[in-house]
């Protein structure tokens, strides 16, 4: 059929974000032949966006911190829907993974006595986020990249995987094509960690209005105490701006709905106010949040050292994903491992800020380790030519339909507004049901899109090929959200605004049914071992 090239690797890593790179480095260190495929150029994955830092209970700033507190914080933040084994491993192993990054050349901000500095963040009881100003993600990906290029890993850049190939039940390879291909500023939560406060149109700090019961004992009830906390006073409790992001988002939506929002339907985040409290505030802000300062200046003409930013909540993380075994990161498909944002479990119903970067390192390492072991012990695989031919045929079909057919961008755009409007931050049954109807129609349209031009670096084509996966993920999100008739963590339903204990005992799992349809099932969360249950009880 079409010309294609076969490249052999023992372990093939798809994606070169923090998770993929860490996995590749680990697999290579264990002596197998490793390849990395990534859609973009090396070092340009989404991980560069992370600003605030990575969470690890190193106890450099507050010696009361330990893996046990980090574990309890992660479970509380995730509203106990987490895979507790992952939460345990993550809390235990994150400090070592951060130190390893330093060994490979990462340079974190320092404490006075020269250790890695840690900053406050929403939902973390003690200052816990190792950081570099507000460009921690860049530091992390660059460190892994610069270390990785000396480990004999073969990197295939700008190559997009469209399907996985199987040998029997087991994954044996991937089919990729070559070469591939929000307006608004994303504001780091680090601003809140550095003393930024949220105000509504009336200038009121509305976060004090509604502090959830399970955080009451740890949260300041007045501005003075909150300020003392950000200045390192160990007797003070955290300001409510440092509550978990799901709660903050919900409070913002409430202010807007009740008519106290900013002119553009958001609220104000103000860091400039600290000039009333400390000398050289402007310098301090520029030093702690340099990228944020630069971005606002350049894109919005706003000087954040002088005036508040207008902000609103947005979706910026997917808590769900591929179901994996907590220890090995293997999925239910033998030979297929998942780690990082594409995997599910660690974060439960809501991810704590900073827990993603550490997740990438902890589980990237584990995935690389166990994938290498799998490759070494499970022997060779055979590729099925028919499967490859089918992949090629699927990939080239949009060209056969050509420019006369509907373009992929129109379908992608329609999908985006369906999901944004109907399965957005605030959800309701009738909206999600309508979304499922619209998705069905969009799937039909996606099957028929055509692209003009040729195969070399044609973004219309890439969008056409992405559509299938976008549809699957959208449908999985809509179905799971519809079935969860309660509000919990990042999932907020207008028609079921309260948490329901009946929903606390299971996760929703979607899988392919007998007739290729999407099947939704409840999967009971296994009971916590006594030791972990005791930690949660103790930290309540």
């Amino acid at each position: 059929m079409s010309e294609f090239q076969t490249v052999n690797h023992d372990v093939l890593v798809i994606g070169a974000g923090g998770a993929g790179l860490r996995a590749a480095i680990e697999a290579a260190a264990r002596g197998v032949k490793v390849g990395v495929v990534c859609k973009s150029l090396l070092g340009k994955a989404h991980t560069v966006m992370a600003e605030g830092g990575m969470a690890a209970a190193m106890a450099n700033v507050d010696d009361r911190d330990s893996w046990r507190v980090h574990f309890a914080d992660t479970m509380r933040g995730g509203q106990y829907l987490n895979n507790w084994r992952m939460a345990e491993l993550h809390a235990k192993e994150a400090p070592e993974r951060v130190r390893e990054l330093e060994k490979w050349g990462a340079l974190f901000d320092r404490t006075k006595d020269g250790r890695i500095l840690q900053r406050n963040f929403g939902g973390h009881r003690y200052p816990r986020l190792a950081h570099v100003g507000d460009r921690t993600g860049l530091e992390m990906i660059r460190t892994l990249q610069d270390h990785g290029i000396h480990q004999g890993i073969q990197v295939h850049m700008e190559l997009t995987v469209v399907s996985l190939l199987k040998d029997g039940e087991r994954v044996c390879g991937a089919f990729a094509y070559w070469p591939p291909s929000v307006r608004g500023i994303l504001v780091t939560e680090g601003v809140r960690g550095e003393g930024g406060v949220l105000r509504n149109r009336e200038g009121k700090r509305f976060m004090f209005d509604n502090i959830p019961d399970n955080y009451k004992s740890q949260t300041a009830d007045n501005e003075e105490e909150g300020w003392r906390y950000t200045q390192g006073d160990k007797d003070a409790r955290r300001p409510p701006e440092l509550l978990t992001r799901d709660h903050v988002a919900r409070m913002i939506v409430r202010e807007v709905k009740e008519g106290r929002g900013s002119p553009h339907g958001g609220v104000y985040l103000d860091i400039s106010w600290i000039k009333d409290r400390i000398p050289n505030a402007a310098e301090h802000i520029k030093k702690k949040l340099p990228s944020m300062y630069h971005q606002f200046k350049q894109l919005a003409n706003i000087d954040i050292t002088k005036e508040p930013m207008e902000i609103g909540p947005t979706t910026h993380y997917v808590m769900g994903g591929i179901r994996v075994d907590g220890d090995t990161q293997m999925s239910t498909v033998p030979g297929l491992f998942a780690c990082g944002e594409c995997a599910a479990g660690l974060h439960g119903a809501n991810r704590l800020g900073g827990n993603s970067l550490s997740d990438l390192l902890v589980f990237g390492k584990r995935a690389g380790e166990f994938a290498a072991e799998f490759a070494r012990t499970k022997g060779d695989v055979t590729l099925d030519d028919a499967e490859i031919d089918a992949g090629v045929k699927y990939a080239l079909a949009p060209f056969e339909r050509g420019a006369a057919a509907e373009g992929a961008y129109q379908v992608q755009d329609a999908l985006q507004s369906t999901m944004q409007d109907l399965v957005g931050i605030v959800r309701a049954q009738h909206e999600m049901e309508q979304a499922l109807v619209e998705l069905e129609a969009l799937k039909q349209r996606a099957e028929k899109v055509g692209v003009p031009g040729n195969r070399e670096y044609n973004p219309g084509w890439h969008t056409a090929l992405d559509l299938r996966n976008l549809m699957i993920v959208s449908e999985a999100v809509a179905r799971s959200a519809l079935a969860r008739k309660e509000s919990r963590g990042g999932h907020f339903r207008d028609d079921y605004p309260e948490k329901d204990p009946a929903f606390a005992t299971f996760n929703h799992v979607v899988r392919r049914g007998a007739k290729d349809e999407m099947e939704l099932a409840r999967e009971t969360i296994p009971p916590l071992p006594a030791e972990l249950a005791a930690i949660i009880e103790e930290m309540k």
Partner: protein, 280 residues
Amino acid sequence: MTATPQSPSPAPRAVDAYTAAQQAQDAAAGHGARTFRLWRGADGTGEFRDYTTEAIDGMVVLDAVQQIQAEQANDLAVRWNCKAGKCGSCSAEINGKPRLMCMTRLDELPADEPVSVEPMRAFPHVRDLVTDVSWNFRVKPTITRFTPRPPDAPDGTWRIDQEDVDRVQEFRKCIECFLCQDVCHVLRDHHKHDEFIGPRFLVYAAALEMHPLDTADRTAQLKEEHGIGYCNITKCCTKVCPEHITITDNAIIPLKERVVDEFFDPLKALVRLVRGKRRG
């Protein structure tokens, strides 16, 4: 969190108050048609083609290019990733100046003339706005890797002063957009890609040389293999760096000084002959 998002208005539909407020904002924003002169073609041949599209307040060049791609030219090749000035993918020459498309606001460019966008010129052309920057990825591994001294604290880690961190932080901000490589005449006009690593990698070498834990000595290779001598301090690279790294003054000149110290100071050259390494 996002500051005042302004996506194009979707079809009317029952929406919550939050979405409604955002849609009202989009409707209220200023609009106006603008012309973009985009380079189209492959493998070094091509031509400018004009496209007119609706520009909204606050738009950046990349927004407009993507809008043209979605509405008029589905196959227009453009590289981008983060849309936040952090990944360094969207480098191009805008009105003749090397810049990031996602960080260039339309309202900074003259409104009465077309906005021209063309690919970087220092690298082989692939298609439309995309160039082959793979040379950069081949250069990096030729620079001696980070080589830390053994840990000095009892807990097996290092103690480092913030001051020493601050010294190299500037270089570590680099987003590898390669705009400095694009503008450097040694590469752009004289095509010395085989003999000169370019400003980006001089910044990289400086970050390693000045890293508080690093013990390797890269001076000889900077002089011999990496062609630091080709740089004649024109400072063009510094002017285009979107991260405002003072490439020439803070990275290149100190490295040049190390080279001079080492190779042209007779006493040091003798020490070097005997010991092999500068900081042995």
